[in-house]
Every structure is written in C-alpha cells, then in structure tokens.
C-alpha cells in the first residue's frame, strides 16, 4: 500500500537513497543541495546508518569511497563548486571500481555564480570533469517522484557496474514540492554488489571472467585481504607499469558502460509517435517543455518531447531511431548549449537542430518555448 505525501525533491533524494539501502552519507553544505545533507543527518541514525559533515568536498567523496570499500552503500550531495572539488576522486572511484552515488544539485555558475538560481551547466562536467578516459553514468530526474525512483536506480547501477553514478539534479527539481505516492518498499528492486570474488584465477580481487566486465567486490573486513589503488593495476589490485595491462584495464572500464548501454540508458518520450518536431530536454526543464508540448498540440502542431533520463551515456540509439520522422529538433536546456552538442552529433547533417538556452539563472517558461517554436516555423527550419 502506498501513501501520499508532500515532499521536496531534495527530501525525495534522501528517502529514495535510504530505500535503496544507503546507510552512509558524508557531505559539506552547499545551496541548493543542503537539504539532502540535513535530511540524511536526521534520517540515517534512525535507520542505523551514519552521517558525517566533513571539512570539505574533497574529504566528503573520499569518506564515501572509503565507506563503500568497507561495504556500505554510500552517497554525497553537492552543487557546482563542490562538484568541481570532487572530480579527482570521482576518477579514483571509476579506476578502483568503488560504487557510490554523487548527487549534484546544479546551480548557476561559473564559480560561486548565482547560488540559489537554477542551471544545468554541469552536464559536460559530469562527463569530462575528471581527468583521463573513464566510464560515466549520470541520471537526471524531472519530478519529485522520479527523484525518489531514479536515485534507487542510481544505486542499483552503481552496485551492478561497480562505478560512481552521478545523480544530476537541478535547483528546479531539488527545491520543488509535490504530492507524491511513494511505492511500497517491497515492490522495489534493490541491487547489491556480488560480495565474494569471482571464482578462478586464484580468486584475484580484480579478476573478471571471459565475457563479463565487472569484477566482484568483497568489502574490507570480511576475511579477504587485497589491495585497492588508483594506479593502473593488474588483477591482483597491485600497481603496474605495463602499458598492455593498463590499456586492457581502461578498455574494460569503458566497456562496462559501452557494452551495456541498453541496460543503462532510459528515455522518456511524450507525444513522439507522430511528432515532426522533437523538443529535447532533461531534468527540471521538462516541466516547461511538457506544458509547451501540450499547448502546441492543442494548436495542432506535431510536437513531442524526447527526454534523456540517463543523460550519460547519451541515449544516442533512441534519438537516432526518431530521426526519420522528424523535420527538426529543438534543444532546450538551462546552459549555453551542452547537451546540444550531443544532439547535434547524433542528428548530424540530417536534421536541423535549434537551441533555446538560459545562462542568467532564470527559468525558461513554456511561453519562451512556444515563441521559439513559432520562430522556427517562420524561418522554415527543416523544410
């Protein structure tokens, strides 16, 4: 049985994470993510879990990775400036294959920017922020209920693929309040990493059987001694200078995500069946896009919404499948054109891609989108 409650997006992130089994949170306060730290501080000890306010974000993500290595599902939450500080250890988590969830409730930047205003300009940072080639999974919710459901998915993917997952929220969703009916906890699917090493090859801790991509992970303190490092390493987890082993390792890390895109990527499509114009958006921007689509449909325009829910890897296959029916695409996002680059890459020369962005910390309205659609019509984009 489910119950209806009034909830804020940030609160839903805490409750969803706890439902997913998160029992460790380390963080440092920053608007507009602070309610996630505050909620975790209040709720975790009630569940036997642990909350710690660290001295900065460098420490927060390090503590989260440490806790995960010791067997706990762990999370941190931040916004742009803190997300920047976390980048080095985000790469460590990818290299050492330590699952965790990093919430970034995006605000307007660069630098301290407009601390309380919404933006979506960390999209590219989520993918390219840490140095070196590495796998990235990032998920972006557009409503309070979806925040609850998707953060569970974020933990599930982190555990399944043994990698940090970025939960890319924005101020719009983080601070939005909605009535939601939470699912029955018994109906949720919760993944847990495999807690013993794969058989074979002397039970090396980073051994992966042929045809698989993810080593099994036994937490520290459970009777198996091994080494974890961010250096290039062999199957025993020991640093190596071998280019061959390093190349194979990074290749496998990238393959974990690339060979499993169908499992990882999700999109939400609305009114796309006969759409000739696709409005692409993600996160909180979807609210205005939905209104605009409804209004445009009332006016008889064949407009639909294509919303990547998994924003990294970009759902390339799904968008490509829509291209033949489309005359044009409109990318709407609260930045200077970041997901736009992915959409342009997929659309190629086939379809024109128009853009509506925002960099001043204000919110794009349905009227702004409708005006852009009319402008596109007048300019005969795609005819």
């Amino acid at each position: 049985m489910s119950k209806a409650v009034l909830m804020q997006g940030n609160e839903a992130a805490v409750e969803g994470a706890i439902a997913a089994g998160m029992r460790f949170f380390a963080g440092y306060p920053i608007t507009p993510s602070t309610e996630i730290a505050e909620g975790s501080a209040a709720r975790l000890p009630q569940e036997g879990g642990k909350f710690i306010q660290m001295e900065d974000e460098l420490a927060s993500i390090a503590a989260v990775l440490g806790a995960s290595a010791a067997g706990m599902k762990a999370m941190t939450a931040t916004s742009g400036p803190g997300f920047s500080l976390m980048q080095e250890n985000l790469g460590y988590g990818a290299m050492a294959e330590i699952p965790c969830v990093i919430v970034d409730v995006q605000r307007a930047g660069p630098s301290t920017g407009l601390a309380t205003s919404p933006a979506q300009a960390d999209y590219m940072q989520a993918k390219w922020g840490t140095h070196g080639d590495h796998p990235v999974i990032a998920i972006s919710p557009s409503s309070v209920l979806e925040t609850y459901m998707l953060i569970i998915r974020a933990f599930n993917l982190a555990e399944k693929y043994r990698t940090p997952v970025i939960f890319l929220m924005d101020e719009i969703v983080g601070h939005m309040r909605e009535g939601v009916e939470l699912p029955n906890p018994n109906d949720l699917i919760i993944n847990r990493r495999k807690m013993s090493f794969h058989d074979g090859a002397n039970k090396q801790c980073y051994y992966v059987p042929e045809g698989q991509y993810v080593p099994a992970m036994k937490p520290f303190g459970q009777g198996e001694r091994y080494n974890i490092t961010g250096n290039a390493h062999d199957e025993s987890g020991f640093p190596t200078n071998s280019n061959e082993i390093a190349g194979k390792l990074v290749g496998r890390l990238l393959d974990k995500v690339e060979k499993n895109v169908d499992d990882i990527t999700r999109v939400d499509e609305y009114a796309m069946d006969d759409a000739e114009t696709a409005i692409v958006c993600f996160g909180g921007t979807a609210r205005a896009v939905m209104s605009a689509v409804l209004e445009a449909r009332t006016a008889g325009k064949k407009v639909g919404m294509f919303r990547p829910v998994t924003v990294w890897p970009f759902p390339e296959k799904q968008l490509r499948a829509r291209l033949p029916q489309l005359k044009n695409i409109l990318m709407v996002e609260h930045n200077h054109g970041q997901m736009l680059l992915e959409v342009q890459r997929v659309a190629g020369r086939e379809k024109p891609v128009c853009f509506l962005g925002r960099i001043d910390g204000t919110v794009i309205s349905p009227q702004d989108i409708l005006a852009k659609l009319s402008e596109m019509e007048e300019n005969h984009h795609g005819e």
Binding site: F24, A26, P45, Q46, G48, G49, K50, I52, M54, E55, D56, L58, A59, S60, A62, A63, V64, L65, G66, A67, S68, A69, A70, G71, M72, A74, E88, N89, Y92, A96, F220, G221, Q222, G223, R225, Y226, N227, I228, T229, G230, N231, S236, F238, P239
Partner: protein
C-alpha cells in the same frame, strides 16, 4: 623473526620494494609490521589480522600500503585520512592505520589531518617524515627546515616548517608522538601504543631521504643521516633526565600528548542508539 615477518605480513610477490638505497621508508614499514605482528600475537589482546586496514595517500612512502599483506588501499594525494575516516566510521571494529608522507598529510592533506584529530576519529596515522617531496624529486615540503635547499628552493627555503606532532596536538589529537628510524624498538612500541589508543593517534616518524634531501643539503649518506638522528633525537626517559641546557638542539622521541577524549564512532553509536529508542516509544 625478521624473515618470518616478511613472509607473514608482506606481499612477497611484489618485493623488492621500489625505494632508493638508504631510504628510511623500509624501516618504518617494518616497524609498522612488527608493531601489528606483536599486537596480533599477544595472547592478552584480541587483535585480528583481518580487522586491519592500511590506508595510504600518494608519495614514495604511501607505496608501503601495497607491500603490507593486509586489507590495503592506496588512495589519492592528501586524501588518505579522509578515506580512512569513511572506512572507520562505516565499520568501527576495523583498525585503520594510515601511512602517509609529510607532504601528503601536512600540505595537500593538512586539512584532513587537523579535522580527524579534532573529531578524535579512531585512526592511527603514521607520518613518514623525510623533510622533502620524495616522489616528485626533491621539492620542499611543509617540514623542510627554514634555509634548507630543495629543487624548488634553490636559494634556501623561505618557509617556516611545521612540527607535525605539535600540529596534531594543537588540533586536539588525543595521542601525538614522535618516532624515528634510528630508535627502532622505541618507535615500534610507540606505534603499538598508538594502535592500542582508542581515539585519534598520530606518530610523526622522522625518516631520511639521502637521495634528495640529503644530497641537496650535504647531509651525507644514509649512515651519516642516521648518526644525526642518534645524536639529536632522544627517547623519553633519557630526554627528561637531561639538563635543560643539553636539550636545546634535541627532540623528544616518545609520546607528546595524551588524552582520553571520547572517540568519534563511539559517540555516534550513542546517537543511533537514542534514535532507535525514540522509535520504539
């Protein structure tokens, strides 16, 4: 016993280690291994090998974690104490021992050091203090003495140095001590006490880097540098029996500060307990 130690507690497949001839890191690594071995083998105590986790940052000294055959995690430069905080808090029954360099724990990681000390997080931090950045080839660190040379201080170091044990004491560490590589037995005992200590403990172990610090500052080879330690670093009993005038150019090897403040994870366990009680009501 020495060869026993290597076979029992080191990853022999990965030896010999990568350090330069004369480097002090091997001595400190051995001291840590002996200290742990003696704790495990002590029938009066209940130390379990599987409960030890060795955490290190980045630097020559941080490579020690990989050679020690325990749960080990070699993290990022400066962040070892923050990783260790997560490990200890997640599973307080673990004995978390951090192996770190003077740069790793007092420059890039200085913030984590003082905050772990302030919280009294139950970690044992062993600083391999060689007065220099070894891994990157001899740049000055926060412990390089004023006036000394380094590749980035070709005209002499203008900075004033940290005394890491005093720094930890100032930050509220409930246990801060100093060891060195010459007084191995004393240092092993100090490390044992640090591990036995319930709260945060730090041992600043004076090491030697003849390759960079020694050569740049004409300190001679490793033997010469050890002689300096023998003459200038003095174990507790002898130190306090010396006349004040003789202590001027000497430093104490031993425990500098000790307190039995409540340990962090114990205190948090009480928070969990009180929330659970409220739930039941």
């Amino acid at each position: 016993m020495a060869s026993d130690l290597v076979h029992l507690y080191m990853r022999i497949d990965h030896l010999p280690q990568m350090w330069c001839p004369g480097c002090g890191n091997g001595v400190i690594m051995r001291d840590v291994a002996v200290a742990i071995q003696e704790l495990i083998e002590d029938p009066e105590l209940d130390f379990n090998r599987e409960d030890f986790v060795i955490v290190s940052g980045i630097g020559c000294s941080s490579r020690a974690a990989g050679y020690l055959d325990f749960n080990s995690i070699h993290t990022t430069h400066g962040r070892a104490i923050a990783f260790a905080t997560g490990i200890k808090f997640a599973n307080p029954k673990l004995h978390v021992v951090v192996l770190t360099g003077d740069g790793d724990c007092s420059a890039i990681g200085g913030n984590h050091l003082i905050h772990a000390a302030r919280r009294n997080m139950g970690l044992t931090v062993i600083a391999f203090n060689n007065d220099i950045y070894g891994m990157t080839g001899g740049q000055y660190s926060p412990t390089t003495p004023n006036g000394d040379k380094a590749t980035t201080a070709p005209y002499g170091n203008v900075d004033r140095p940290f005394d890491i044990a005093n720094l930890a004491t100032g930050a509220g560490a409930s246990f801060a001590a100093r060891g060195d590589i010459y007084h191995a037995r004393e240092t092993i005992d100090i490390i044992k006490q640090a591990i036995l200590h319930k709260g945060f403990s730090l041992v600043d172990v004076y090491s030697v880097c003849p390759t960079y610090y020694g050569r740049k500052n004409k300190k001679g080879d490793a033997v010469e540098m050890l002689k300096w330690q023998k003459e200038h670093l003095v174990p507790t009993a002898r130190y306090y029996s010396m006349p004040e005038s003789e202590r001027a150019d000497k430093k104490l090897i031993g425990i500098l500060s000790y307190n039995d403040y409540p340990e962090y994870t114990d205190e948090y366990a009480k928070v969990i307990e009180s929330c659970r009680k409220k739930d039941k009501k």
